[in-house]
Every structure is written in C-alpha cells, then in structure tokens.
C-alpha cells in the first residue's frame, strides 16, 4: 500500500516540474515526424505493393518501424525520467523521510519503479495513438500491434529498472542518467556483428524486441525482460538497505 503512495508521489513529481510535460511533448513531436516520413514512404510504395500477392501491409511497413524508432527514443528519455528517483531524494535529503517512515526498502523501490514505469507507459500510450489513427482510413493487424506494444511495455519496464538501479547507486541525478544511458546503449548494441544465436546476442535488449515487433510473442523474450527487471529491482533494494551501513 505504501508502495502505491510512493509511486503516486514519483509520478506527480514528474509533472509538477516542466520536465514531464517537455519530455512528453518532445517525444510526441519527434515520433509524429518519424511516423509521417514512414507513412509517406508507404503511400509511394502502395501501388506497387498492391500487385504483389502476400506483400507486407501497413502494420509491417509503418507501425513496426515506428515502434522500433520509439524504442530508441525511450532509450534516450527513460534515463532522464528515472535519474532522480533515488539519487535526487538522496541529494536534497528527502530520502531520510522514506527511511524513517514505516516502509520497507522493497516498498520504496517498488513504488519508485511503478511511478517511473507509469510515466514510460503513458508516453508509449500517447505515441500509440498515431498508428491507431490509421484505423480511420485502413485496417491494421491489431494482433501484431498488440504484440509490438507488449514488447515495448516490457522494454520500458527494463529501462525503468536499470535506471532505478543506477539512481540508487549514486548521489547525483546527472551521474545516474549518464550511467544508465551508457549501460542501456551497451545492452542495445551488444549484438552488433555477432551470430544471432550467440550469448552476446541473447544479452541484447534490441535482439529480444524484434520478435515482438514482427508479431511473435515468445515467452523466452518476455522472460529475458522480466528477469533483467527483477534483478535490477532486487539489487536496488539491496543497495538501499546496504546504504545505511556505509
């Protein structure tokens, strides 16, 4: 219950300052641009595609690529969303409020995670309105769209948890953001130039997103994201408890 109180506070704190609004607006604007470019390309190809039997449709050629680009944007934005979660509170001294309150370290971490995740999902929901607008003029493969969104939601959870872990490790929010971004970028590109079935490829964040965007919900891919999220959250709890001892 107290985790929800903390989550609500975390989400609100993103919107009582301009940061939350600016992040949403900038992402929305950039995605709109990418979406229109993608749509333009599709419209030009459309007449030729119509002649090919079994050709990819608008979901494959517009929605999936846009979601892939949104994933990269999330990689940039989520470290900024999560950076203050614990390090910011430590910096201004409000962490003591939580530590002296009758809430456990687990409650604090889960609350912070849920707050950050809600912001990420809100962002994802807003940009999803653009592909959904296509329903007015054409039909979408909703199954594929949902699979893609599920993958994106799992990715968002992982980004939030990695950000939270880095935020719990340092005192300066900027250092948390830089560390988170570096770690996420490394996890994103770690499969570049290696065989798709190698261990390095398995570690990659992007490698596990591709099947979702193709409409394939693989429990292995889902497990990868959930596992990474759980590990980061557990380490954050440990760090928060251990921080009292040093």
């Amino acid at each position: 219950m107290s985790a929800l109180v903390i989550a609500g506070r975390e989400l609100r704190s993103l919107f009582v300052t301009p940061f939350g609004w600016i992040a949403l607006a900038v992402v929305q604007f950039v995605v709109a641009w990418l979406f229109l470019v993608q749509l333009e390309g599709f419209v030009q190809l459309q007449s030729r595609l119509a002649a090919v039997p079994g050709a990819p449709g608008v979901t494959d050629l517009v929605v999936a690529p846009v979601l892939a680009q949104v994933a990269v944007l999330l990689l940039l934005v989520m470290p900024l969303v999560s950076m203050r979660a614990i390090s910011g509170e430590r910096q201004v001294g409000t962490l003591n409020l939580l530590l002296a309150a009758p809430v456990s370290a687990g409650d604090i971490v889960i609350g912070k995670f849920l707050g950050t995740l809600c912001f990420g999902l809100l962002l994802l929901g807003l940009v999803t309105l653009m592909p959904l607008a296509l329903l007015a003029g054409t039909t979408l493969d909703l199954g594929k769209l949902l699979a893609g969104l599920l993958g994106m939601a799992l990715l968002t959870a992982t980004l939030a948890s990695v950000g939270l872990l880095l935020s719990s490790l340092v005192t300066q929010p900027a250092a948390a953001a830089a560390g988170t971004f570096g770690l996420l970028l490394l996890l994103w590109i770690v499969d570049a130039g290696v065989a798709p079935d190698s261990a390095l490829a398995w570690l990659s964040l992007s490698h596990h997103l591709q099947p979702f965007l193709r409409g394939l919900v693989d429990s292995g891919d889902a497990a990868y994201y959930l596992l990474l999220t759980a590990v980061c959250l557990a380490l954050s709890v440990r760090r928060l408890e251990g921080g009292r001892r040093v």
Partner: protein, 311 residues
Amino acid sequence: MNSESLVVVEGLRRDYGSRCAIRDLDFTVARGEVLGLLGPNGAGKSTTLQVLSGCLAATAGRITLAGHDLEQHPQRAKAALGYLPEQPPLHRSLTVDEYLDYCARLHGLRGKVLRGARERAKARCGLIADGRRLIAQLSKGYQQRVGIAQAILHDPPVVILDEPTVGLDPNQIRAIRDLVRDLGQDRAVILSTHILPEVEAVCDRVLILHQGRAVYADQVAAAGGETHGTQIICAFRKPPEHTQLGALSGVEGVEPLGDGRFLIRHAPGASPAEILAVASAEGGWGLRELSPHRLSLEQLFVKLTCREELW
C-alpha cells in the same frame, strides 16, 4: 509522570569505515521526558539521531523504540517515531498540504483521520494559513515548521528533532521551545542542539557527547547543582593575606580575583563557608560577599569538551 521507557539505547556504536563516530552509548528516555543531546560540532549528535531513526544502521548495539527493536521490527518501531533530520526532508515543489498529506499516507493514515491529523499538526506549528503555499516559496523558518509538522503529524510517542531551532528568529525559537515542552508532556522527545540556553530552557535531562562518547548524562537541574559545586566566591572590604585564607580548614586552593575577591576551591560536600564567615568576623576582614560558585551548563560543557584541546 509516567516512567515507561520509550527509547532504550544499549551499547550503541557506529563506524564510518575505520573512523568511529559514536561508541558505547547507553541511555533511555521515558514518556514525559525531553532529552537534550549536546556536543561540539562533529561530536556525533546527528549520527546518533540518524541511527535512532533507522536512516543509518548501527554497527553494534541495540535500539528499542516504544518496545519494538529497530533492527528486528523496523516498521513497527518506525511507526512510533517522528523524525526531523538536520536538513528538513521537504519536497519543495509541493504545497504544505500536499506534502503533509503525502507524509501522513506514508504512515498509513487515510481519509478523515488524515485530514484531522494534518490540520492538528498545522495548528500546532502555526501553519494554518499556509496550507496552499508552495514549500519552495516559504522562508527558512516556515520550512523548519513544516519539517516539525511532518515529525508530529502521526502523533508518534517518540519525537526526534535534530537542531529544530537552527535558522529561526528569536520569536520563532520561543514558539518552537514551547512546542517542544508541550510535546514533552506525554511523549519521549530527543532534541539535539548546540545552543546551551535551549537545553536549560526545555530539557529535563542532558547528554553531552564528545568525540563520539557520552561524557555527561544527568538531570539538567543537577548540571549546575551541588554535585559539581566545589568553589566559593568571597569578597572582603579589608582582604586578608592569601596564605591566611589558605590556612583555613577545608580550603584546598585560593585564587585572588582582584578587588578583594577570591575564588576558593574545596572538596565536594565540605564547604568552608561557615569557617570563612567566622574567620572574617574574628579578623575584621569585612566580608561583603559569600556565595557558592555554581558551574553553569555552559561551563560544564566547556570543561568536558575542551579538555583534550587544552592539554
């Protein structure tokens, strides 16, 4: 007065790496008692309070708050605790009401109970008219009041205040002192400060820390009292010789203060005041002042905490 011990500290020790911040600390605070924690900067006051509040873990020792062990049942112990850290833990982007509501929810208060608690805390801290103001726009003194309101919001039996009057003007300091005395009626209050008159004004007992150790722990009244009074000040119109005074029975040392005044040291509990008066009458010295020289809390503080630096 109820003598139930709400805070029990046994063998407390806290290290920062290889540096020991506090060691061998034992004390209790009963309901209805205000304990003043005194000490020079760096003596370990804030560390002690941070450990008591659970913000820092103890390296060794046991802390019991309202009957609950802080390490084994941290949530039950912390539910009984209100804590104002040295730096008030305020969310500056919230209004006073929003912030206090958040703090109350962290303590599990909801609905009508929450609103009642918030309004009571605001009334006690003089914040009734400021509920809708942003904390960032409040002056330092008002921010301090919000910090105190946060600490007493959930009506905890144990209240810990780390330098609550720092940065306040004299009127506000008086208001906070009244509040602390009021809180001390039915709670256990621990107050850290380096303002000595504050301790004399509001505390029942005092604990002086120096280099992480408790160097003095007793009733505030006793700090200036008989147990430490081993000096007499006397003055004569026609002062006798230094040696004449030294020869009187019970006198251990004489120190001329000029203008016929002397500081006379004696053994504890064996005041030579009567002998002095008789000797003065016989010798015609013209005794015009004779008073026990009591150590004030300030002198006691200086005596206990400056020793190392002087030697």
